[in-house]
Symmetry: C2
Subunit: 492 residues, 2 copies
Amino acid sequence: MSENSSSPIKPVQMNQVSNWDFETDVAIVGFGGAGSCAAIEASDAGAEVILFEASSDSGGSTALSSAEIYMGGNGGTRVQKACGYDDSSEDMFNYLMAAAGPQADEAKIRAYVEGSVDHFNWLVSKGIEFKDTEYKQRAIMSMTDDCLLYTGSEKAWPFRELAKPCPRGHNLYIEGDNGGPLFMKIMTENVHKNGVQVEFETRALSLIVDDQGAVAGLVVRQNREEKYVRARKGVVLCAGGFIMNEAMVKRFAPFLLAGNSPIGNPGDTGSGILMGMGVGAAAINMHEGFITLPYYPPSSLTYGIFVNDLGRRYINEDCYHGRVGYFSVAQESKRIFLVFSAEDFQDYQTNSYLGAEVAGTGDTIEELEGELGLPAGSLVDTVQEYNRFAAEGKDPAFNKSAEWLKPITAPFAALDCTPGRGVFVPVFTLGGLDTLPSGEVLDLEGKAIAGLYAAGRTTAGIPRRGQGYSSGMSVGDATFFGRMAGKAAAAN
Amino acid sequence: MSENSSSPIKPVQMNQVSNWDFETDVAIVGFGGAGSCAAIEASDAGAEVILFEASSDSGGSTALSSAEIYMGGNGGTRVQKACGYDDSSEDMFNYLMAAAGPQADEAKIRAYVEGSVDHFNWLVSKGIEFKDTEYKQRAIMSMTDDCLLYTGSEKAWPFRELAKPCPRGHNLYIEGDNGGPLFMKIMTENVHKNGVQVEFETRALSLIVDDQGAVAGLVVRQNREEKYVRARKGVVLCAGGFIMNEAMVKRFAPFLLAGNSPIGNPGDTGSGILMGMGVGAAAINMHEGFITLPYYPPSSLTYGIFVNDLGRRYINEDCYHGRVGYFSVAQESKRIFLVFSAEDFQDYQTNSYLGAEVAGTGDTIEELEGELGLPAGSLVDTVQEYNRFAAEGKDPAFNKSAEWLKPITAPFAALDCTPGRGVFVPVFTLGGLDTLPSGEVLDLEGKAIAGLYAAGRTTAGIPRRGQGYSSGMSVGDATFFGRMAGKAAAAN
């Protein structure tokens, strides 16, 4: 066989393959959220499917997540309706477009919104349960079995002016942060029920292309042997992102190196993206990622203010933590502090994810300012102005919502939220293969590559910017477009 | 011939080429700043060189620029020394690293700094003249024949704290904005003097690769015929960036669509980048570009303040216009205004590049605030605080330098600097092929592709961020690394 067969980048020529170890209609790489949904849809459509997974079990990064799923529009999902929300597709569309900013993929967002309630119903039909209740706290995830919650910046400026706010995060019917494993357990059952052949501990090495450059199969490594997979209808790459590949992050998304806690599974090495690029696919949005300071719980810290080393605010603190985190990391500042009334510290020490140290305290802001080493008068001015307006429920500087405005009062305290100083900075990638809503992978000229599909974080999907992220966008995107890719491959 | 030979992306296999129309050691694509310097160095090293240029004359985007060249360090260039600056390599290195931020290519910056005075001397040896004088105004370019000027944010916070400021922009010895054509005239003379064969009106179509994937030549179109070029030592891609390729900008750098005036020549279609990617090269930093609001001259407008539609400042206005422009375009704001004392309007109407309309005037800030439609009290608060500190030569909020601080006084005026409302927003790309300091092009695994070199805006070079740009970085980078690529190809 070709000496290049072990490189993910260099495809193997089909005419060099002497025999097939596996033959199927659709070969899927990666048994996470995207891959499982692709397998279910492809097999539901009558295709023969083999799913290849490098690790010993299903799950991928979806199983490690909370598996909140971002859904709505179309008048609302069953849960949204039960909770009194008649979410419009226009509002959901406008929110997602604003969240993705100039990088928005309008066609994908349109498809995602239009299919969103169908997607909810499909998940329910596959056995995923959602409780018809709302989790009303400002939280990163539901800590009960309640379903519906705000998981982004929908209620925060400027988004609230661009789209009527509505909660769209759907948490599974299970106590606490256990949605991911449950989601993957149910999806895995469906995959098996559908008769999909699953090959665990089998790593995809490279694609196989025919004379015309169409993808015809896959080389995998199983039991220390290279095996050849013929995929008559197509290969679907659902192999995750690249946050575990430090060299690739450094090269394509160096801003994300400010993060210290890669969120993902060990397989998120970018191999799916590289395999795609190796057959001519375009990778886009490669610089972007989710990078955050998860500064709540306790939600009471939202009453505080983030300041840089000039003692100045830079964001409305009621945004989703991912947006606050993005702008915090992007500050030209040696230090980032969260300044708050000590009473709002609450259960920080037992329930916070942040891990930030108390950087200073004071009975006066002058005292705190000194302890933080901020320029004389800087924090005093900032807090004075903030308090003056907060007392009236206003924040003319950054439009923080009245709900989270109250004067900061003595005794005062501050957390050191500077990345690199002990604080937890989770991070994952948002760049990948450019795909159509159908999951077809596009080449550098914008044409679909025959026989190649992708979904999940192997692609650039709905979420395109750390500053516009909402929890549930990635699992939502992976599962929705995983289904589309499975359908399209089966119909090829 | 292969039906794919007319695609820039799909390389032609060498074994399908039946005869060579041109044979040479080094084939260079593009006769701008990078290509001319590559050709001179390669031929100086004894290599046979053919230079292919799609248009009818030399020049590229360098001829359209001011051809300021960013040079210094090593104790200073001849001009820096004559003007009393003993520029240190460490300061130049630190400035360039800070300017490029997380995207910095340390090895390239190191090579560029260490070779910078040599580069100055080399240019002089080739006939480029620089006058030993300084242009002391805050300006986008020297409007006299004076040479040395600040062309970036060296004196502005935070850079001034990270590296001792020093002017490094070197303007050619010619009155006004005429450096680009003069630079290319002299470089073109050198190319001819060196006996380099030049083929004008000859478009590079695709690379030719051998069985091992090494680049062996080039397909070009000349007189409506495809011709085959054998390059024994290598091909050097100096074909510019991709700002003229709207589809490519939309796909890879959508933020730049906020610009309305692409800076470049019609050949900046990304063809060099695509040719490289087609043989497996990695393209990096593709989302970035230079995007600006050139709001001076008159430099007196630097005494003004930029505010968003909350009536709040967001930047120290004494930064280079490219940095102010970047942060202005990045604001989540429907409108951007430059507010100033009417006396600082000066010769705006005859000498400004900006083209911004006067959005409002007032004998009081309240009146101006109303005319601009800003929230009641917002601009009043901002100007009050700004003036209070400016009177003391301080700007605790954004650290604008004392040199540009004075209270804003009646009568007041504001310019509408919102992109999309008539204002001039020049833009070009800063992403491209990943190369070594030698110009060798790297593949997706980080290995050099045999026979392939690149320089100029076909590559990701020294300038990596709009927010960190200094005039002269791009021509500096193109000419310096053009030379390195020419040398390396000749030595291959």
